[in-house]
């Protein structure tokens, strides 16, 4: 059977070569991120007293559901880092492994590259085997770099064993999800499908652990992300969850090897359902086509916005007590007379949510240029469709998208908040505070449209602008920026309800700016050359 693996070594070196930058990026990025956070936590909570205060704030079901259980009674710097960071880092590592494995297995197969590779004297399992070697090497490196790196940090409460376990958990969860991805790459007939199934499993694992940690303990025992917290890094230091992850990974890869050895190249085991025979009447218009292309993404973002709203809302109940012990948050929110800290926090959350809710509509607008770059605008404009009509379709869709996203986030925040708090939260207050940001969101869509019309190659600048907005609005209070820095962003002009007063003139002004930007974009789009 040795021939099944023939020339895996060459393929392994080939994959390593292709992935060298990306791998290096996350082999350096993930550990560095961990180290920086550790330093930051040490800086913010230098004494055991400060950490105990933080631990009290964490002692509620909402936080447990979000970050998992932690050793709150002995909240050393190590226990705190593991509690706050390990689960999220594990999710990121899992996601990276899923993307890596699907890209080089089903991805290459779908694109037809495996066909030529397989026609060479290369074993049927060689590529999968090379992939297994690749994930073993990279996750091992990740575990060692993170583990020994943490051990050398000059902090108490971060012993060698705990540090190595911290790294091992990350490496283990990476291997586990690599195995999951390898298995789904055999089961599903498409790269999208394989990736989608594996990521869905990751999300289910997170949700199961969240529900399990708060209610039915058994659920977290079957969730691989539950094992992450069960390792109790820097507390009891249990190694058996890492063994479970290795075992799971081995089962995943063994299954993948078996399925791959019996199947036809290009075939999967889960059948794709056949598509529609005819286009529905809705699809037959430019706006219908634009919607159809973004439908899945929009629905996913909608669910995401609702979940973000819900998760922020669920912690509102515990906030008041938390604030009293947290000096930094006070500075961050800058006290205002006559308004409760909770209300201040709500207005802050809504600002952040509004910026997040701007991402999907801007993506929807940018899709117009994305389609152009991929040569898919030509067949549409080749018909009796004017450029103005096409751009209007994308613009309207994008504007509608933004309204829905903002609304969903606000509804989520209100629903979870009113359930968690003792005094009821007024829906009108939350919703109007969120919708007040709609003109700012429109300005971002307008900016995107303007760039597409005038400077299509620089169309990614809109993301920079949005990121800038996020920084100045979110961290403005902490860094004490001068006024004009915030005024450059449309989000800086929106009155932060309910803390500030509503200012209708600003709303109209921003809307006018949005319309102006969009009109400039429309004019430019009508005149310029199409790029594909």
């Amino acid at each position: 059977m040795a021939s099944e693996f023939a020339r895996s070594g060459i393929l392994f070196r080939f994959i390593m070569k292709k992935e060298r930058f990306r791998s290096l990026l996350w082999l350096v990025g993930v550990p560095c991120f961990t180290f920086i956070i550790t330093f930051a936590l040490d800086d913010l909570y230098p004494t055991q007293q400060a950490r105990d205060g933080m631990a009290e704030g964490m002692r509620n079901p909402a936080m447990t559901a979000m970050v998992g259980p932690g050793d709150l009674d002995h909240y050393t710097l190590g226990a705190m880092t593991a509690h706050q960071m390990l689960l999220f880092t594990a999710i990121i590592v899992g996601l990276m492994n899923i993307l890596l494995v699907t890209r080089h297995t089903r991805g290459d197969e779908e694109k037809g590259r495996m066909e030529i590779i397989q026609s060479l004297p290369v074993g049927r399992l060689s590529n999968l085997h090379a992939m297994l070697l690749m994930v073993c090497v990279s996750n091992l490196l990740l575990a060692l770099v993170t583990g020994f790196g943490l051990a050398t940090l000059p902090f108490d409460g971060m012993g060698l064993e705990g540090s190595l376990l911290y790294g091992a958990v990350l490496g283990g969860i990476g291997l586990f999800f690599a195995g999951v991805a390898a298995l789904f790459a055999q089961l599903s007939g498409s790269n999208r499908g394989a990736r989608g199934y594996a990521i869905t499993l990751l999300v289910i694992a997170y949700l199961m652990r969240g529900i399990g940690d708060v209610t039915v303990e058994a659920l977290s025992w079957i969730s691989p992300l539950g094992w992450v917290t069960k390792a109790q890094v820097y507390a009891h230091n249990d190694w058996w969850p890492v063994c479970l992850m290795f075992l799971g990974s081995a089962i995943g890869f063994a299954g993948a090897y078996y399925l791959h050895s019996i199947r036809d190249l290009g075939a999967g085991f889960l059948n794709e359902r056949p598509g529609r025979k005819q286009a529905s009447p809705l699809l037959r218009t430019p706006i219908g086509l634009a919607w159809r292309l973004q439908r899945t993404g929009t629905i996913a973002w909608g669910i995401g916005m609702l979940l973000i709203g819900l998760s922020y809302g669920s912690v509102l109940g515990e906030l008041e007590s938390f604030f009293q012990e947290n000096e930094m948050m006070k500075q961050f929110l800058a006290e205002a007379p006559g308004v409760s800290l909770t209300e201040q926090f709500i207005s802050k959350i809504i600002t952040v949510m509004a910026i997040l809710a701007t991402v999907p509509p801007v993506m929807a607008m940018n899709k117009l240029y994305g389609e152009e770059k991929r040569n898919r605008i030509e067949p549409v404009l080749g018909r009796a469709v004017s450029r103005t009509r096409l751009m209007t379709s994308y613009g309207l869709l994008s504007a509608g998208n933004g309204f829905v996203m903002l609304s969903l986030a606000a509804i989520g925040l209100w629903a979870a908040g009113t359930a968690a708090m003792e005094g009821k939260l007024a829906f009108g207050m939350v919703y109007s505070a969120a919708i007040a940001f709609y003109p700012a969101l429109l300005v971002m869509i307008g900016t995107s449209a303007m760039l597409i019309g005038l400077l299509p190659k620089w169309n990614a600048l809109v993301w920079l602008y949005l990121f800038y907005s996020f920084i100045v609005v979110y961290l403005g209070g902490l860094f004490q920026f001068p006024e004009w820095v915030a005024q450059i962003s449309p989000f800086g002009h929106i009155p932060q309800l309910p803390v500030e007063e509503m200012d209708v003139s600003k709303v109209w002004l921003l809307t006018a700016v949005a319309i102006l930007l969009a009109t400039v974009g429309w004019m430019g789009y009508k005149r310029r050359d199409l790029h594909g």
């Binding site: 021939s3 099944e4 060459i10 037809g112 590779i117 026609s119 004297p121």
Partner: protein
């Protein structure tokens, strides 16, 4: 060299191959012809060990195509019709990867590689993302011909090449033949394979409907003639090998069996030829002919 016996392949309810028999001998160029979706690529993928046949046998060098794929592939080279490559690698890098996966190295191979890139006018420093379909095909062709294979399986390898490059390609396979190597060449254009192939098999809806040497299949190929003469031609009906004759005054349209061509031209030329146009037979004609012979089926 290469032999399939009663090959059957089903995809769900759809039967892609229904008892395919082809055989390629040493030093032979074998044409494998059929319209899109007839089963050419399915047959080839079974021969490459990528698909598992539901029934029948596929053997190359006397070894089973599925079980002994690695051993077979050491002596075989394949070029697909639709070549997909890694967008961020250059053509040169991809060729080297393919050669090293094959285990071909040494001065001889490097020399062949350079020479072939020259002949196909391929710029190996460009990223694959910038290559057109034809250039990606050249990458696969260079990698295939630079390696010292005994059998070449080529699945519509010229679909993206311009006529000049197609000539170079034909030279390459004729050279391979002269060195005693075998080629399986699939195509949906009859005239393309006719130039180089020794034997031909025609596949339609998963079944081989005709196979044999070109001489044996000569009866299948008819030349289309359009003739204009000074005087109206008479007495053509009496000649053998004439089909679909249409006569309008001084102009004639007809199809002639290849082996009767000489006699027809001799018959027509005394009438004074003003214009003579001929078109090679197409695959459709062969199919039509096949139905006529099989009584419509």
């Amino acid at each position: 060299m290469l032999k399939t016996t009663d090959l059957v392949k089903r995809f769900g309810k759809f039967t892609a191959l229904n008892g395919v028999n082809i055989e390629v001998n040493q030093g032979e160029i074998y044409g494998f012809i059929g319209p899109n979706g007839a089963g050419k690529s399915t047959t080839i993928r079974i021969l490459l060990g990528m698909l598992k046949a539901d029934a029948g046998e596929a053997k190359i060098f006397g070894q089973d195509a599925w079980k002994e794929a690695v051993q077979i592939h050491q002596r075989m080279a394949y070029v697909p019709g639709d070549v997909n490559l890694w967008p961020r690698l250059t053509g040169g890098e991809v060729i080297d990867l393919f050669l090293s996966l094959r285990g071909s190295r040494g001065k001889q191979v490097r020399k062949r590689r350079e020479e072939l890139m020259e002949r196909f006018q391929l710029d190996p420093t460009k990223k694959c993302a910038t290559y057109s379909k034809g250039n990606r095909q050249k990458v696969a062709l260079v990698a295939a011909f630079a390696s010292d294979a005994d059998l070449y399986i080529l699945d519509e390898p010229t679909s993206g090449l311009d006529p000049l490059m197609e000539r170079v390609f034909q030279e390459c396979i004729l050279e391979a033949k002269r060195e005693g190597k075998s080629v399986l060449l699939s195509s949906h254009i009859l005239s393309e394979v006719e130039k180089v192939c020794d034997r031909i098999a025609i596949i339609r809806q998963g079944e081989i409907i005709e196979s044999g040497t070109l001489a044996q299949l000569r009866h299948l190929t008819r030349t289309h003639l359009q003739i204009e003469t000074r005087q109206p031609v008479s007495g053509l009906q009496a000649l053998a090998g004439i089909h679909h004759l249409e006569q309008k005054g001084h102009t004639l349209a007809l199809q002639v069996d290849a082996d009767e061509l000489d006699r027809v031209i001799q018959h027509v030329s005394p009438y004074g030829i003003v214009k003579l146009e001929s078109a090679p037979p197409t695959l459709e004609d062969v199919f039509l002919r096949h139905y006529e012979d099989a009584g419509g089926r």
